[in-house]
Structure formats: C-alpha cells, structure tokens
C-alpha cells in the first residue's frame, strides 16, 4: 500500500468511525429492534416478528397519520413552489443591491431557530393571537378563526420554514436558462405567460424537482413545527415516533414507524435523482 | 550543484507501464531536456525525480546519494511548474522566501537572499505585489526566483514556457539559458517543443512510449536520428513510405532516392523521412546533380523568415521543401518546373511498422 493511501486512510478515519458509530450502527440496530415484539413490561421483547410493520400499515390510526403526513408534504411543497417562484424571478431580475438585500432576507429566517419561528407563528395564529385579535378588533369576525392545532397552522409554519430552501434552489435553476431562449420565444410572439409555461418552466424543471423533493422530505420528517403548531393531538409521523419512544415506550413500534418514514424519504430521493438525471440529459443533449 | 542518475526507472499504473526502465546520467551543471510528445512519460519521470510520485522500481540518485524513498522536501530541488504554482495568498517576496524559511534562513540573510533572487530575474521592484497583480511572464520569473533562491542541487522545469505567447517565450528562453549558465545549475527541462529543447539543452533525451529513443547533443539528435521516430519528430519532415531497392529507396510513381543507410535488405518496406530544409530545390535549368527528381510547384507559402514550396513530383507523391527568404530560389512561383534533390545521408529510412511511433 502506498504512503499516499495510508495517509488517506488516516484522514478519513475519524469521520468513518463517527459515521459507523453515530449513524450506521444505530440505524442497523434500530432496524433489528423494529423486528422485535413489544412487551408491556420491558418495552422490547425477545422474539422476532413482523407485527410492528403489519401494525403500521394496517392499523387505521397509523394509516391516518401516514396519510396526513404525506398530504401535508404535498401541500407544503406546492405552496413553497408557488411562493418561491415570483421571489426567485424577482431576485434574478433585480440590480445587485436589491439582489443582495433580498437574498439576505431569504437567508436570515433560514438561520433563525425553528423553535423560535414556530413560536412566532403561535403568537400570530393562536385563538387569542395577534391575527385573530386584530380581526376581531376590526369587527371582521365575531369568534376567533381556527388557525392553529390543525392542518392550516402546521402548513403555514412548514411553508415559512422551508421556503428559503426552495428559493435558494430555484435561483440557480432559473439562472441557467439561457436568456436568448426566452427572448427567442418572445420574438416569436408568444405571450409572456405562454413563454413562462412553455419555455421557462420546463427548462427550470430539474431545479424545481430538486427543490420540491428536498422540501417534501424535510416536511414529512419535521418534528418541532407540527408539535408546536399542531398541538399534542394533531399527530404526524415524526411526532408519533416521538410519542412512541418517549411516552408510550413502545420502541419496536416506534422503530417500525421510523423505518417506514425513512424508506419513503430515501425512495423519493432515489427516484428523483433518476428522473433528474434523465431530465438533465434530455436538456443538455447528452453531453454531460 | 549535484549530478543526477536514474537507474532502470519504471512507473506502472495497474497494467500500463508509463515509464519503461529508463536510465539516464546527468552531470553537474548540465542542462538536459526530456523531449517527446504528450504521454511519452517525460512528466512522470520529472515527478519521480521531484519525489511527487513513487517509482514502481529503479533508483534515483542525486549527487550520488540514493533519494528514491525520500519525500520531496528532503531532496533539495527546485521545480518550476507550467502553471507557475505561485502561492496566491503570499506576496512575491514571501513566495521567494518560502523555501529559504524552510531552511531556517532568517533576518538580514533572508531579505538579502530574496532581494538577490528577485534581482536575478529583474523583478527587484515587485516584491510587495501579489501574484495576481503580475503578468504571465512576470509570474514565470517569480516562479524561477522562488526555485533558485534556496540554491537547489538540481532545477527541474515542467514545460515552464508553454503558457507564454510566442515572443515572450523566446525572450524567456534566452533569459533562462543565461541564468542557468551564470549559476551553473544542473537542469532537467521537460518539453514537447523541439525548438525549445534544442535552443536550451546541452543534451536532449528524446522519449516515446515510456522509452528513451535517443540521448545526445541537439546536433546529434538533429543530424543523426537513432530511430525512425526521432527522424520523424525532429525538424519538419516529409513522411513517405517506400521499398528498398539496393541502395535506393523506391517511393513509387517512378521516383527513387539514394540513401546512405545500407543495412536494410532488398525489398524491405520502409518509412522514409525527408526534412523540408534538406530537400534542395532548383529551377529546372540548373544542374541539380545526381539523384534529382523533377516536379511542379503547386503552392508557395511565405512564412516570413523562410518560404515553403509544395511540389508534386509524381502521381500522388508530393514533397515539401523550404528555403530561406533571402535565397534567390524563394522567388519561384506555383507552376514552375523544379528539380529536387536530397543528399543520401539526409535520407532517413526505417523499417515500416518499427516501434517508437
């Protein structure tokens, strides 16, 4: 073995150990645990079983939670796209000063704590929160609107939290569209709107896909925001996993649910990568 | 100054042998070029000498000491890169001081030697600048000053001039040659440019396919190429194929030339190399002597210092000939009938399909 190879192994040693001890081994052990039965006494039983998985994918309680989580992911992703697009276009078309200022305003919430941001939404959306008080004060409504402890609140919170990612991924995606392609479409007398849908949008598709998958995966995995804005009863997969581990002490069941969540997330990323590769190849004419 | 010897040096990557048992002796103060096309192994050899690459087998001796297993920092070498590889975050003076500091040189001696090295490359006034503030030629000089400042035993050059434009390259060649002669530096110079190699070197080591084709002075390599490859690589050759007929080479179309090479058997298919400058051209009226071939000028290419003629001598056989611009024959024009001749010792023949290409 060459000296270079030996020093290379030294250089990756700490991270490799960390990945094995802190990531691979725990995940593998959890995988094994998800195949153990649940015993009311010690939490983890002695025999092997598929019960936990069967429970997760047949019990209406779990199925409701899984369905709700996925629906939440779809809504959050769609809203993020819808809101990120005009902002990304605006940033791209602005002068350098406005550009820098807007990007800082996009990055700033990203750096702010998720607990703090969710707390901010609680202050705004609560039944006696700022929005409801303002609306009642203005005489527009008689009773507070239910903005929290349901899909609305969790959606608003998650959209705000993941919007920066979408904007920051859309900017390069839209930037890569050659200006002359759009200009050519306009010269050919396509309307602005039509140009947007037939030229801009398809060319930005790989970036849109990357951003959407990221936001979707992060949304379905989110723990803090759904717990704070959804309250203790409006459960999603991540909060249910937390409950199983910390309150019910049903570790095998929690592990099975955690694995289902992981499989959904990884399968989506894997699939998106494959589609993304095909899209990129189609656009660049196969010279990548 | 140190001598350098390479003994049966081999570098193998998986199945491919990039350098195949190369042995070379370089004397103290000698300037040797490693010349060859890209992929011939010349840069690999240089990197092995520098210690940046470990040889698969063989030995490297610097000043008689075996350094094969020593890391680059303990070989006392200078290396000038094609990309200059200046430290972008350090000033010119700090770049030059880098090697001296590693030797523990400090204070007045340090600044003195930095100043001296910069003065040698005529950049004494630019010590405070950063590399990005300099032109390509100036950066190249800084790289040179940085390499000579610690007084290395051997100076290695990895195509150092190929990023410069043609005029600057010629200036730097002269400067480099002067500096090397003044300091008496043992130098190994890797290049693919034959003119550069011939201008600068005491000896040229011409390489192809990981093998040394010929080692010799520029005159030897130019005048008596050892292999067909050398003949083809050096000068601006006409490359033809033919068959040996006694002492003559049949080029087809009724054209034949006499060659001084009489070692090849009758009927052997050969590659024939004729340098453009060796092809004598004369108006048909003149007596061009024995072995002359008649032909018609097709093209006249004015190159400044010289004029090139493309002459059709037979069906499918064309030869390029070159004469100096001041030569009266330079006024010949397309359509003129001319006589071409080549001295027998300038007709290089090698068996067709021989190794080295």
């Amino acid at each position: 073995m060459s000296a270079r190879r030996i020093s290379g192994l030294w250089l990756i040693a700490p991270v490799t150990v960390l990945l094995v001890v802190g990531f691979l081994a725990p995940t593998a052990i959890m995988g094994m645990l998800s195949l153990r039965n649940y015993s009311g006494m010690s939490g983890i039983g002695d025999s092997w079983t598929l019960e936990n998985y069967i429970g997760v994918i047949t019990d209406p309680f779990y199925l409701t939670i899984i369905g709700r989580t996925l629906l939440l992911g779809v809504i959050v992703t769609a809203l993020c796209l819808l809101l990120a697009f005009p902002l990304a276009l605006f940033i791209l078309r602005s002068g350098p000063k406005v550009q820098t200022a807007s990007i800082l305003l996009v990055i700033f919430p990203l750096l702010c704590n998720i607990v703090v941001r969710s707390f901010g939404w609680m202050v705004l959306l609560a039944p006696r929160g700022i929005i409801n008080e303002a609306l009642i004060g203005a005489g527009l409504i008689a009773h507070p609107l239910p903005l929290m402890y349901d899909l609305t609140g969790v959606t608003i919170g998650l959209v705000q939290i993941f919007l920066p990612f979408m904007v920051l991924l859309l900017i390069p995606a839209l930037q890569n569209i050659p200006a002359d392609v759009e200009a050519a479409a306009l010269i050919l007398k396509a309307s602005r709107l039509r140009t947007f849908f037939t030229i801009t949008l398809p060319l930005a598709l790989p970036g849109i896909l990357t951003g959407s998958i990221l936001v979707f995966v992060l949304s379905i995995s989110a723990l803090v925001t759904p717990r704070m804005l959804g309250g203790p009863t409006y459960r999603v997969m991540a909060t249910q996993i937390y409950e199983e581990f910390m309150t019910n002490l049903n570790w095998p069941g929690g592990a099975a649910l955690a694995f289902v969540l992981t499989v959904i997330a990884l399968a989506l990323i894997w699939g998106a990568n494959r589609i993304g590769n095909r899209l990129t190849r189609g656009i660049s004419g196969g010279n990548s | 100054m140190s001598s350098l010897s390479l003994r049966s040096l081999v570098k193998r990557y998986d199945e491919t042998e990039v350098v195949k048992s190369v042995s070379l002796e370089v004397a103290e103060g000698e300037f040797v070029s490693l010349l060859g096309p890209s992929g011939c192994g010349k840069t690999t050899i240089l990197r092995m000498v520098a210690g940046l690459l470990a040889p698969t087998s063989g030995q490297i001796l610097i000043g008689g000491e075996d350094v094969t297993r020593l890391p680059p920092n303990r070989r006392n070498l200078g290396l000038v890169f094609q990309s200059y590889a200046l430290f972008p975050h350090l000033t010119v003076a700090d770049n030059v001081a880098f090697g001296l500091r590693r030797l523990g040189v400090k204070g007045a001696e340090l600044s003195g030697r930095v100043t001296e090295a910069l003065a040698r490359v005529r950049l004494g006034h630019l010590g405070d600048r950063y590399p990005r503030q300099l032109s390509g030629g100036q950066q190249q000089r800084v790289a040179l000053a940085r390499s000579i400042a610690p007084r290395p035993g051997i100076l290695l050059f990895d195509e150092p001039l190929s990023n410069l434009d043609a005029q600057l390259r010629e200036e730097m060649q002269i400067e480099l040659k002067q500096l090397q002669a003044e300091l008496g530096l043992t130098s190994i110079f890797v290049t693919h440019d034959q003119h550069e190699a011939m201008t600068l070197s005491d000896r040229i080591c011409l390489m192809a396919g990981g093998v040394i084709q010929q080692i010799g002075t520029p005159e030897e390599v130019y005048l008596s190429p050892a292999t067909g490859f050398v003949a083809d690589f050096i000068g601006s050759p006409n490359k033809l194929s033919g068959t040996m007929r006694g002492a003559r080479v049949d080029l087809g179309g009724g054209i034949a030339l006499t060659s001084a090479n009489d070692t090849l058997a009758d009927g052997t298919p050969v590659r024939v190399t004729l340098r453009q400058e060796d092809v004598a051209i004369a108006p048909i009226a003149d007596d061009a002597g024995a072995g002359a071939i008649e032909g018609t000028i097709r093209l006249r290419l004015f190159e400044g210092a010289s004029v090139q003629f493309l002459v059709a001598v037979a069906e499918g056989v064309e030869l390029l000939a070159r004469v100096a611009q001041q030569d009266p024959r330079a006024t010949l024009a397309p359509g003129d009938r001319v006589r071409l001749s080549v001295a027998p010792e300038r007709v290089f023949v090698a068996p067709a399909g021989a190794a080295g290409a």
Binding site: G8, T27, I29, L92, I114, Q160, V224 | R102
Partner: protein
C-alpha cells in the same frame, strides 16, 4: 440572464413573500419588549424586564451555556474532521469516494427524528445515556455536511500544484497544507463554519432524544417552556437566538460575502 424589468405583480408578490418569511421573527422580537404579561404586537410600552428575567434564570443560563459550548465543540470538530475527509476525498487518496461522500451528506436529508431515535436506542443499549461526548458527536454528525460541502467546493478552486511546490521547496506535507492550502481554504470554510454553528445551535429533533431531564439547550428549553404556557420571557429568550442568527449572518456576509454562494 438578461436583466429584465420586474413587473409590478412580481414586485408585489416578492415583497409579500419576503414579509411572510420574516414575519414570525419580527413578531417575536417586538413581543419580547412588551410591558404586558401576555404577548402582544405592537408591544404595549417598552421594557427589558423579560430579558432580565431570562438572564437571571439559572435554567436558561445553563441552557444558553450548554448550547454555546456544544455548538463550539461540534463546529470545531466538524471543521477539523470535515477538512480532513474533504482533503482525502478531493485528492482521491482513498477508494469509495462517492459512497463516503453520500454517507457524510446523508444527515441533510435523512429524517432527523430518525437519527435522534436511533441514537437514543443505541446509547440506551450501550448504557451511555446522558453522555456528553455522545451529544457532541451527534452534533458533529449533523454539522459535518455543511463543512464538507464548503471545503470540497473550495478545494476545487485550488491549484493542486501549489502544495507540491511547497513540498519541493522543503515543506513537509502537513506544513505545506498548513502554510498554503489552509489559508486558501479559509474563506470557504468560514461559510461552512457559520452554517455548522447555527445548525448545532438550532437543533432540536436529534438533541431532544439525547438529553437527560437535567440537561437542556436553549431551543429545547424554549420548546419545553412553550408547552407549559406562553409568556414574554419565551419571546425574550427567542430574541437572544434571533440576535445570534443576525450576528452570524453579518459575520458571514462581511467575511465571505455569503450571498455570492447562492
């Protein structure tokens, strides 16, 4: 891209989205100064009372302390290990480059709550629950992707020959790295450092599973406090975290003009 004028609609939409994105933080900051005992915006009167309350509370102070040293330790270790692994991967010194890189980047997309519970299970089985070192290592794991990403991006821009030049000039390979490559990596690592610090400081979904009941970090403390009832001291504690983020952003923009990276 051809600079094209923004239509009024795009400007309005973009402004609305920017307001939406920054509304909760603005609300929290404003609410933290109120004289009332309930949260209200705009604040009724101005007082620093709630900040004094937070900074006089032992629980909050310990949580702030834990958050800060944890973020510092995790960032420093991430910088060291991340730079090491990036260097080896960039120079292809070891096989399996893509596999290692994907594994290092995995915590970015791998559900954080899953990493949290997996680690919880692991440390329980090993009898290491509440072990501080495990907490630090978990944070290194989640901050590493930011350091590695910025280090890899910076390494691409460095001519590999300059380190060789330093070696030939007499520097040992580590000296060559320290004197030449490291100074050139600094600006890129700075961005990774800021993101790493903020990520560690913010983390709840992994941290919450690894703390003992007596331990807390600031965000976990706020998270727990919200469950027990909302009052302006929570807003004050949150404002401290927001101020931290603002400082990080200013440093990053000033030292490396962060916006360039996007």
């Amino acid at each position: 891209m051809m600079p094209r004028r923004n239509s009024v609609w795009i400007v309005l939409a973009a402004a609305a989205v920017l307001i939406f994105m920054n509304a909760p933080t603005v609300v929290v900051v404003l609410a933290s100064f109120t004289k009332t005992t309930y949260l209200t915006v705009p604040p009724k009167g101005w007082t620093l009372h709630w900040f004094a309350e937070v900074l006089g509370d032992d629980g909050y102070l310990r949580a702030i302390g834990t958050s800060l040293w944890l973020a510092c330790a995790a960032t420093i270790l991430s910088l060291i290990f991340g730079t090491m692994v990036s260097y080896a991967l960039h120079h292809r010194m070891v096989p399996g480059r893509e596999a290692i890189l994907s594994l290092v980047m995995a915590p970015l997309v791998f559900p954080a709550v899953v990493i949290g519970v997996a680690l919880l299970q692991f440390v329980s089985l090993m009898g290491l629950r509440g072990n501080t070192l495990i907490l630090v290592l978990a944070h290194v794991l989640i901050t590493l992707p930011y350091v590695v990403r910025s280090a890899m991006a910076s390494l691409v821009g460095i001519n590999p020959q300059i380190e060789e030049a330093a070696q030939v000039l007499g520097a040992r390979s580590f000296t060559a790295f320290r004197l030449v490559t490291l100074p050139l990596l600094k600006p890129g690592l700075m961005a990774g450092c800021v993101f790493s610090f903020v990520t560690s400081l913010d983390n709840v979904p992994v941290t919450i599973f690894l703390l003992t009941p007596r331990q807390s970090t600031l965000p976990v403390k706020i998270y727990a406090a919200v469950d027990q009832g909302v009052d302006p001291s929570i807003a004050a504690a949150s404002t401290l975290l927001i101020a931290g983020a603002a400082v990080a952003l200013i440093i990053a923009q000033w030292r490396t003009s962060l916006t360039r990276f996007f």
